[in-house]
Structures are given as structure tokens and as C-alpha cells.
Subunit: 174 residues, 2 copies
């Protein structure tokens, strides 16, 4: 591999690390994805260790998260005990996968607690100005969450969220 290619890869990896951190993920996660994304062939765990400088343990746990999000895929070869990982190169597929994963997450638990607040108020109603105000506000938030939820569900259901769909959306929003 040429010297400049090594440098290119390093820069790119650093860029993705920052993006990863921006979205609240460990920067190592971005680095792992970057290394896999730029590799023409699937890599073993130890190869990722070599490329990223992280330890096996860290990679083991973080790559599981990446796999759960559908950003990397694990595969194994016959007669080879190593696991191999490769990056998902279709980002639209990845988005759908991430949204799907999100459904089971802590986020939805919190959203359901808002729903719960609403139900608790209805079950034990108090006729009071402030009570009314609070109820309306909580209800508005819940409706907003519902809209978002429907949107993500629609996206997840698409067989393919491709370029064409994005442009379709863009045209509607014009």
C-alpha cells in the first residue's frame, strides 16, 4: 500500500471518528467503521486491532453495537475460526436498520413514559386551570412523538430508501 494511501486512510478515519462522537457514539466506533469501510476485503478482529490501535476487548464490544445497528456485517469462512467483518456500504440500508434498532431502545421507553403521564392524568382528572395547561402540553408532545414515530416506521417499511425516494421527499417539500 502506498504511503499516501496510508495517510488518506488515517485522515478519513479521524474524520469519521469525529462524526461518530458528534452523534454521541464512542469515537472508536467511528474508527472501526472507517477502517472496514475502506477495506476491499473483510477484516478479522486482529486486523482491526492492528489498523485502529484499539484492543480486542474494545473492538469486540463496539463491533457488536455496530452489527446491531446494521452498519457492519459479520461473516465467517469455512475452515477458519476467525470472524470477519465488513462495512455496510449502502447507507440508506444502514439508516433503516438503525431506525429499526431504535424501536427497542431506551428512547422508546422514555417516550412511553410520556404516554404514561398522559394516561395517569386522564385516570385521575382534576378540573383546574394549570392541570389543563399541563395536560395540553404533554398531549402536544406526545402527538409530536407519534408523528416522528410514524415517519420512521414508514421509512423502515420501505423496501429501499434510495436516492430516488429522497428526491421524491425533496420535491414534496418544495
Amino acid at each position: 500500500m502506498s504511503a499516501s494511501l496510508t495517510r488518506i486512510k488515517k485522515d478519513f478515519t479521524q474524520g469519521l471518528s469525529q462524526i461518530s462522537r458528534f452523534w454521541g457514539f464512542p469515537k472508536g466506533m467511528g474508527a472501526i467503521f472507517a477502517v472496514l469501510y475502506l477495506s476491499p476485503t473483510p477484516l478479522s478482529l486482529n486486523e482491526i486491532v492492528r489498523e485502529t490501535g484499539l484492543t480486542k476487548g474494545a473492538i469486540s464490544t463496539e463491533i457488536r453495537a455496530l452489527a446491531r445497528m446494521g452498519l457492519v456485517h459479520r461473516s465467517s469462512r469455512l475452515g477458519d475460526r476467525k470472524d470477519y467483518y465488513e462495512a455496510e456500504a449502502d447507507f440508506y440500508a444502514a439508516i433503516r436498520s438503525i431506525l429499526k434498532e431504535r424501536q427497542n431502545s431506551e428512547f422508546d421507553r422514555a417516550i412511553r413514559s410520556v404516554q404514561g403521564t398522559l394516561e395517569a392524568m386522564e385516570a385521575n382528572w382534576v378540573e383546574d386551570e394549570e392541570w389543563n395547561f399541563v395536560y395540553e402540553r404533554v398531549q402536544a408532545l406526545q402527538e409530536f412523538f407519534d408523528a416522528i414515530d410514524n415517519l420512521t416506521k414508514a421509512v423502515v417499511k420501505l423496501e429501499k430508501l434510495g436516492f430516488s425516494n429522497v428526491t421524491k421527499i425533496l420535491s414534496v417539500l418544495k
Copy 2:
């Protein structure tokens, strides 16, 4: 204020704190927003201190971030040195505001670094199989980022991203 209303507010605040953390923000930020969101009247900094249990300093810095995102608004009253804060109740407006804010963020810097990688490769081209592969991958990522960027720009430009627009999008995606 009735005892049960206090409890309702506390539960709700806790829920928003978790949602805040999920999105990578301090949980205090969610708590501050929740308190303002459920308050019929704008609150002063010291009132927020009382409601959240956080200190002035923390609230001062975090509320500035909230204001930058357009999630709260600061106002002042004549003959009153206190600042008053109220929550933005229109979440669609808030989303647009957040996306706008994002433009100047660390995220865009990182994205531009991907663009930079691409340009560096073009400026110093090497005819090589792996070089080609890497170039195509980086290019694909950059195109993806562009699509996202256009999407957010379109949303920001809408005079109002309301419920109706969301349903419009939903119908296109069907």
C-alpha cells in the same frame, strides 16, 4: 399546586431527562426544558434553580445552548432585571431551528474533511486498484452526506414544517 400535579411534573421531567441523554445531551438540559415546557408562565433563572435543583451556573450555560437551538426563548420585562425563559412549544419550529444551528457545528467541519480527502486524492492521483476502491467509497459517503444535507436544507427552508407536511411525506413514501 395540587400534590398530584407536582408528581406529574416530576415524572414528566424525568422522562425528558432520559430522552435528552439518549440524544447525547446532558440530562439537566432535558430537565430544564421540561420545567419550562410545563410552566404556564416564563420562569426566571432562580425559579428554574428551585424547580430543577441544579445550580445557577449550570443552568446559565445549558440554557444558552437551549436558546441557541431555539428550544427556549429568553425575554425580559421592563423594570425587572431578571431574564425570563419560556419553552418553544412548536416542536416543528424547534427541529428547523436545531437543523439550522447544526450547520455551523463540528459535524459540518468533519463532513468537510471527507470532502477534503476526496480532493486530496484527486489532486494527487495514483493508478492503483486499492486507490480506486478507496476513492469510490469515500465518494459514495460524500454523496450520501450531500443528500442528507439537501434534505435538511429543504426542511429548514420550509416556512413551516407542520403536521401536514409530515403527512405529505408519509403519503409519498407509501
